[in-house]
């Protein structure tokens, strides 16, 4: 019962991540997704993984997002999507249907090498290669971020001109649309006036 409630809560939070306008609110809803996922993981019998997910997902990642938003600036623009939404929905539903079919198939269960023991044993004895590979992965992530953040990237004139031109043409298109809408109104707006003139003796 609780797991079903948490499932729906996590889906609601995930939908809000996409639909909300402000980026700070997006980060908060993402923390909600992490928290509900951590609770579900705990109910599935993995308390240590739940603690890791809660502290990393709802804590560290949220702080990273707030930091990134404070540097990049709060942005509330919400442009239309390039992929039409009905097409996006269709593709997603097809993918989910294929996943559901896969879930209906019997899962192959390997020879059970990990029966018994604790998570510590499973990580440090049975999956030690995973842990060793995570170390260079973390270092590469840190070095990559340092390299990206400290490189002195200056926008080239050409790239900046392209962005400015696109924004100007979008603005012109919007003004033209407003003008067309304004010109199409005068006839219907003056109709009551015309009827009133004809009605006078």
């Amino acid at each position: 019962m609780y797991l079903l409630l948490l499932s729906f809560l996590s889906i609601v939070c995930a939908v809000q991540v996409m639909h909300t306008q402000k980026l700070i609110t997006t980060a908060i809803w993402l923390a909600g997704v992490s928290a509900t996922t951590a609770a579900m993981i705990y109910l599935l019998g993995a308390p240590w993984v739940a603690v890791i997910e809660l502290s990393v997902g709802a804590g560290l990642v949220t702080v990273l997002f707030v930091y990134a938003i404070s540097i990049a600036g709060e942005s509330t623009f919400d442009p239309f999507s390039v992929v039409p939404k009905p097409l996006a929905w269709t593709l997603v539903l097809i993918a989910l249907a294929l996943m559901a079919v896969q879930l209906g198939l019997p899962l192959p269960s390997p020879e059970a090498p990990y029966v018994g023991g604790t998570l510590r044993m499973a990580l440090w004895q049975n999956r030690v290669m995973d842990l060793l590979l995570q170390i260079p992965m973390i270092f590469s992530g840190v070095l990559g971020m340092l390299g990206i953040m400290t490189s002195a990237l200056q926008p080239t004139e050409e790239a900046h001109r392209t962005v400015v031109q696109r924004q100007a043409s979008a603005q012109i298109a919007e003004e033209l649309q407003d003008e067309v809408a304004a010109h199409s109104q005068p006839e219907s707006a003056s109709l009551p006036g015309k009827l009133a003139k004809e009605a006078r003796p």
Binding site: M1, L3, L4, L6, S7, F8, S10, I11, A14, V17, M18, L23, S34, T37, I41, L44, G45, A46, V49, I52, E53, L64, F65, Y67, A68, A72, G73, F77, P79, V82, K85, A88, L93, A95, L96, M99, L103, L107, S109, A112, Y114, V115, G117, T118, A122, L123, N126, D130, Q134, M137, G141, M145, I148, M149, L153, P155, E158, A159, T162, V163
Partner: protein, 103 residues
């Protein structure tokens, strides 16, 4: 209607996966795109835990989930750093403005 543990978890996995896939297709803000990737990763983590629970090998599922958490965090860090640099370079967070290819 009684829903058992595994069914509720499957609903969560498929729901988060669907929302994440839809977001990848529709969202144009670079920082929001990283958030959508995080939602997809949560779905994968939950799927690993569920698979370990169903097959009777919870420790295998949990150890793989820990690996996914680490990888997902690194992806978030690098993605946000790229979004910040793209904001400085292109003066926009719109992924459509970040296309300088001549087609």
């Amino acid at each position: 209607m009684i829903v058992n543990l595994e069914s509720a978890a499957v609903i969560a996995v498929l729901g988060l996966l669907g929302v994440g896939l839809y977001g990848l297709l529709v969202v144009r803000n670079a920082i929001k795109l990283v958030a959508v990737l995080q939602v997809l990763a949560k779905s994968a983590i939950l799927a690993m835990i569920l698979a370990g629970h169903i097959t009777g090998q919870p420790l295998l599922g949990q150890s793989l989930a820990v690996t996914i958490i680490v990888a997902d965090t690194i992806v978030a860090v690098i993605g946000l750093a790229l979004a910040i640099q793209a904001r400085r370079f292109f003066r926009s967070l719109d992924t459509q403005d970040m296309n300088t290819l001549r087609g």
